[in-house]
Symmetry: C2
C-alpha cells in the first residue's frame, strides 16, 4: 500500500486555503500556546488568541470530511494568577462556526517535571478537545482496547450462581451484569483519560507530545489509507506516526528548521519496523 506524506512549508493561515474541501479524516494538532514559541507565530497574546484561531478552525471545518474528527490539544496559560479563559471562549466560538464539541478527553501526564509555586501545584494534565461536524462520525473503538485490569484474575476464578446469569442492579439504574460473559475476555474499552508519560528527549521543539498520543487517536478515528492533517506540525510526531501506520498525511510548518528536520525523518523511516504494538494503559 502506498503512503503519501505531504509536507508544506509556510503559515497555515495561508496554506490551509490550498487544501481540498472534505478531504481529511482526522485533524490532530497542538497549536502554539499563547506567548510561547514567540518567534514562530509572533507570540499570540492571550486576549487575541481566539480571534487568531477562529479563521484557522473555519478552514479546518471546510477541509474535514463530514464523518471526520478534529482533536485539539491545548491548555490555558496562567495570566495574573488566574487560568486565562481563551480556551473556554474558543470552544463557545467554534460551536458558533457549527463545530460540535463532542468530548473533552484528558491527557494525564505521568511524569511532569518537579517544581514548586507558592499558589499552585505542578500542571499534570492537558485538554484534548474533540470536535466533529456531525453527530455520526467514524470511530474504531476496538482498535484501542486495553488489557483488562488485574481485578479480573481474582474475580473470575470462581463464579457464583448470580454470576452465570444476568443479574440486574437493584438501584433501578437499569444496569445489570452477567459476569460469565467476561470469561476469556482480556481487553476492555478505555476511558476518556489518557494516562501517558511525557517524552523527555529534547526534540528541539517546545511542544512535543509522546508518540503514543497520535498513535491512539489515529487508530481510533482512521483506518489504513485515510488522511491525517497537522497544521502546526512542529517536530512532526503526528506526521511520522501517521506514515508508520500507513495513513496519508499532510503537515504544515512555518519554520524551515522544523520543516527540514521532519523531511529528513520521513525519508529515513523504516516502514517495516512498525507493528503497532504500543499499548495504552488504563489506570
Amino acid at each position: 500500500m502506498e503512503v503519501t506524506t505531504k509536507l508544506i512549508l509556510g503559515d497555515c493561515r495561508e496554506k490551509l486555503k490550498e487544501l481540498e474541501s472534505n478531504s481529511v479524516d482526522l485533524i490532530l494538532t497542538s497549536p502554539p500556546y499563547c506567548d510561547s514559541r514567540k518567534k514562530t507565530y509572533g507570540g499570540i497574546h492571550p486576549d487575541k488568541y481566539v480571534e487568531w484561531f477562529l479563521p484557522i478552525s473555519q478552514e479546518l471545518l471546510r477541509i474535514l470530511k463530514h464523518d471526520g474528527t478534529f482533536v485539539l490539544n491545548i491548555k490555558e496559560r496562567v495570566v495574573g494568577g488566574e487560568r486565562h479563559t481563551y480556551v473556554l471562549q474558543l470552544i463557545l466560538e467554534m460551536r458558533k462556526q457549527s463545530w460540535l464539541w463532542t468530548e473533552e478527553l484528558i491527557w494525564h501526564k505521568k511524569n511532569c517535571y518537579p517544581g514548586k509555586w507558592p499558589n499552585r501545584f505542578r500542571d499534570a494534565w492537558e485538554r484534548l478537545l474533540q470536535f466533529n461536524k456531525n453527530e455520526k462520525f467514524n470511530m474504531y473503538q476496538e482498535e484501542v482496547m486495553v488489557p483488562v485490569g488485574n481485578w479480573a484474575e481474582t474475580r473470575l476464578k470462581s463464579l457464583s450462581k448470580t454470576d452465570r446469569i444476568r443479574d440486574n442492579a437493584k438501584n433501578g439504574s437499569g444496569f445489570g451484569k452477567n459476569v460469565s460473559n467476561w470469561i476469556n475476555r482480556d481487553k476492555v474499552y478505555p476511558t476518556n483519560v489518557l494516562h501517558l508519560a511525557t517524552e523527555c528527549n529534547n526534540k528541539n521543539h517546545s511542544a512535543v507530545f509522546p508518540e503514543a498520543l497520535p498513535e491512539w487517536f489515529i487508530k481510533l478515528f482512521t483506518k489504513e489509507g485515510d488522511t491525517v492533517l497537522d497544521p502546526f506540525m512542529g517536530s512532526g510526531t503526528t506526521i511520522v506516526v501517521a506514515q508508520q501506520m500507513i495513513r496519508d498525511s499532510i503537515g504544515i510548518e512555518i519554520l524551515p528548521k522544523y520543516y527540514e528536520m521532519v523531511k529528513n525523518k520521513i525519508k529515513t523511516t523504516d516502514r517495516h519496523l512498525f507493528r503497532g504494538e504500543k499499548i495504552l494503559c488504563n489506570y
Copy 2:
C-alpha cells in the same frame, strides 16, 4: 479545642443569606448536576443551570473570607451527542461577579461508571474548579505532600486507609529515630490531578465522593479551627471529614432525609479520636 459543626435544613438559596460575611475559609461543594438525581433533587435543565447557580455563587462570594478558597466539583452532561457548555459559561459568568478562576484540578476516577457507546468512552474525570477572591490566599502546600515513590503515578494514594497503614508500618519497622527527616526528604508536592476511586459502598446517597477528596482540600486550604462550608451537603462527606480534622463546619441540605442522616453520623462520631477535645453540634 472546640469544634462546631452546624447543620442547616433548607434550600441554600435562602439559608446562605443568613450566614455572616467574610466568615468562611473554605467552601467545598458538589452541587446537583443537571437533570441528574432527578428523583431526589428535581433536576435543573442544562440551559437553566447558569442562571440557577449565579445567585448562589454571589452569596458564596460574600461569605468567603478574602483569603479563602471555593472549590467546585462539577462535570457537564452530554446533550444531543455533545458536551453541554454550561460549565464553561458558568466560569465566565462567575468571573464577572469578580471571582478569580485560579485553577482547574482534575479528579481522575479510578473506577468510573461502566457502559459502552458508539461515539464516546466512559467518563473517568470530573472538574475541580478553584475560585478565589484575591490573588493571595491561604495555601498550606506542605500538608499534602506525598511520598516520592508515588509522585509520578498517584497523588493521593497515600491518603487511603491501606496506604496510611503501610506507611505507618514502614516508619515503625526500619527507620527508627529520624523518621521526620525521612519524611521530609522523601516527600514531594503533588500535582493538580487527583487520582482517586469513588466510594460505591452503601451510603444511601447517589453521589458521594471519597473522603480523601475533602480531606486533601481541607488540609491544603485550612488549618485547625478554620471554617468549612458545604451548601449542598448531601451525605455529608465534607462535613464529617471537617469535624474529624478539627475544623468548624456548616452544612446545608434541602432534603430532610440526608439532613437527619448526617445529624446522626455527626452525633455518633467517635469522640475519643479527638483526644478528648470537645465537639459542639448545632442543628
